[in-house]
């Protein structure tokens, strides 16, 4: 059996984190969801700093754009500039449908851009599809490299 996958969700809205958690609850990939509420925390988590010294290296990052302290695009830029983080796929998960946000995200190396659907079933479908694609279909870089 495949080892469980680890997912880091960077989002300041606990309600969205809870929804993603619900969406992942009945899954076969046994994904573990970790979450942080702002961009600075996200970088601390990824770099195992401070209270995140023992944090696991996630297999996938789900990143909101509009974040306190350090916004999503800044986190994305920092991740793609770090040799040890740039292999982790980043899914931008935002309400924004603005063309400039989408284009900018891909410019900065986002692996995909998904708009948060307003409807519950669409939201669940989006999260489950992400999980299925990244953990069931795609070949991710081996852990610890």
């Amino acid at each position: 059996m495949k080892p469980a996958s680890d997912l880091l969700m960077v989002d300041d809205n606990p309600a969205d984190v809870a929804l993603v958690c619900e969406a992942l609850a009945a899954n076969k990939h046994r994904s573990r969801l970790h979450s942080v509420g702002d961009g600075v925390e996200a970088m601390a988590f990824l770099n195992h700093r401070d209270k995140y010294a023992n944090a696991i290296r996630p297999d996938l990052v789900i990143l909101d754009l509009n974040l306190p302290k350090k916004d999503g695009l800044a986190v994305l830029t920092a991740m793609k500039a770090a040799p040890d983080l740039r292999q982790i796929p980043v899914v931008i998960f935002s309400t924004s449908l603005l063309r400039k946000d989408i284009v900018r995200s891909y410019d900065l190396g986002a692996n995909c851009y998904v708009s948060k659907p307003g409807n519950l079933n669409d939201f669940f479908f989006a999260v489950k599809s992400m999980e299925e694609f990244w953990f069931g279909f795609v070949n991710l870089p081996p852990r610890g490299e």
Binding site: N13, A15, D16, L19, E22, T95, K116, G118, N119, L120, N121, F123
Partner: protein, 414 residues
């Protein structure tokens, strides 16, 4: 007489007198007295300063700004016409009348062209009071008009600003409202799904109402966003071939057309000068409505265009349920609906967007209809850009599965 300026006193008179501060440009003291006397004889109470060179003239303009300047044409050191230049350079709008001994027709016409109100010959001074009165009247009217123009420009400015503020507000509000609303929608749905039948009957019903309300509000906000987006950016106008746009629209509406058994036909359409996306939205909304508000028969929708000066006038007509004429105006108001939501779904945003698009290009949109007889929506769009630019379109093929088929070549005039 000194060049610094000479005071000429007023004279007694029985007639009611209009006080008048005049500046005379004159080298002949007697002539100056005659001029003042002519005015005082006919309803004026003149306080006059007399100067005869430019320096004194400029000084006097500043120290005792006159209501009128009366200038001799020929002075030993200065030409009376130079007075106009000085007035202009000082930015003063003071009427100037030439009072001269002999003035040829050509010179007189030239003076008036340069801005003199009129000219009066020294041997015809009786005419002077009337000329002065007219000059003062015109000056008054001019300043009223200028004030009105300034007021209007200010109003236009304010209106443009408050309009822009409103657009911005609508956009920000609707965008920021989406976020919390998404939570309400998602979690009422989640409650509804997870706890259905586990609470009591009422609870299921209540959660259902809350959830439906939230979902409807989401659609409303999205519509509002779409509406405010129409005015947000400067339109990127270019030549748009309406045949190609119609082809696209028919494709977009393919399912609707098929399901309703509609026939959508369009005659040879011209090109317009507008934003392509907005033109497509305009046609799509109108044709979508024509199909939506259908009667018993399968919908028949026809799009046509005819030249109307610098514009093209389009018409989209259908054989649907029609609209009573008393609703002709308010159907274009945002969120106005004539039918129950259960009868015909929608939020009443489509026509409001159409109106906003058409008006962006200085056009008009209106409706002609009778209940039961179908309706025709007409609108105008610019035929070309401000510089008259219009590329000539090559051929266009229209092929709608349920629509008219045309293989002729389209040639856009002008």
């Amino acid at each position: 007489m000194s060049s610094a300026g000479t005071k000429l006193g007023t004279q007694d008179s029985a007639v009611p007198q209009t006080k008048l501060r005049a500046l005379l440009v004159e080298d002949n003291a007697l002539d100056a007295t005659l001029v003042v006397r002519a005015l005082n004889k006919d309803g004026f109470d003149v306080a006059a300063d007399v100067v005869q060179d430019e320096a004194a003239f400029r000084r006097m303009l500043r120290s005792h700004p006159p209501e009128i300047v009366l200038a001799d044409y020929n002075l030993p050191t200065w030409k009376g016409m130079e007075v106009l230049k000085v007035l202009r350079s000082e930015g003063l709008d003071i009427p100037m009348i030439l009072v001269s001994g002999a003035l040829g027709d050509v010179t007189a016409v030239e003076c008036i062209k340069q801005g003199a109100t009129d000219y009066v010959l020294k041997d015809g001074l009786a005419r002077l009071p009337e000329v002065v009165r007219r000059a003062l009247r015109e000056k008054h009217e001019r300043s009223l008009r200028q004030q009105a123009e300034r007021d209007l420009a200010k109003k236009v400015d304010e209106l443009a600003r408050s309009n822009a503020d409103l657009e911005q507000f609508a956009y920000v509000a609707s965008h920021d409202l989406q976020e919390p609303l998404r939570m309400v929608t998602a979690y009422t749905q989640l409650l509804g799904e997870r706890y259905r039948g586990k609470l009591d009957e009422n609870a299921d019903k209540f959660i259902g109402y809350a959830s439906e309300g939230a979902q409807r509000m989401q659609v409303l906000i999205q519509d509002l966003l779409a509406f405010s987006r129409v005015g947000r950016n400067e339109p990127t106008s270019k030549t748009v071939d309406c045949n190609a746009v119609m082809q696209e629209v028919v494709q977009t509406l393919a399912t609707t057309i098929q399901e309703s058994g509609a026939s959508v036909s369009y005659a040879e359409l011209p090109a317009v000068w507008a934003d392509r996306t907005q033109v497509a939205q305009l046609f799509q909304n109108l044709i979508g409505n024509a199909i939506k508000f259908r009667g018993e028969k399968p919908p028949v929708v026809a799009v046509q265009a005819e030249a109307a000066g610098e514009r093209w006038q389009f018409s989209v007509s259908d054989n649907g349920i029609g609209i009573a004429s008393e609703h002709a105006e308010n159907i274009f108001v945002v969120f106005q609906r004539l039918h129950a939501r259960t009868e015909y779904p929608g939020n009443g945003i489509g026509l409001a967007i159409c109106k906003k698009i058409v008006e962006r290009y200085g056009g008009k949109i209106w409706m002609e209809s009778q209940p039961g007889q179908g309706s025709t929506f007409k609108f105008t769009l610019p035929a070309h850009g401000p510089d008259g630019k219009q590329e000539v379109k090559a051929d266009a093929k229209h092929d709608s599965k349920h629509g008219a088929r045309q293989d002729s070549k389209s040639e856009v005039q002008r």
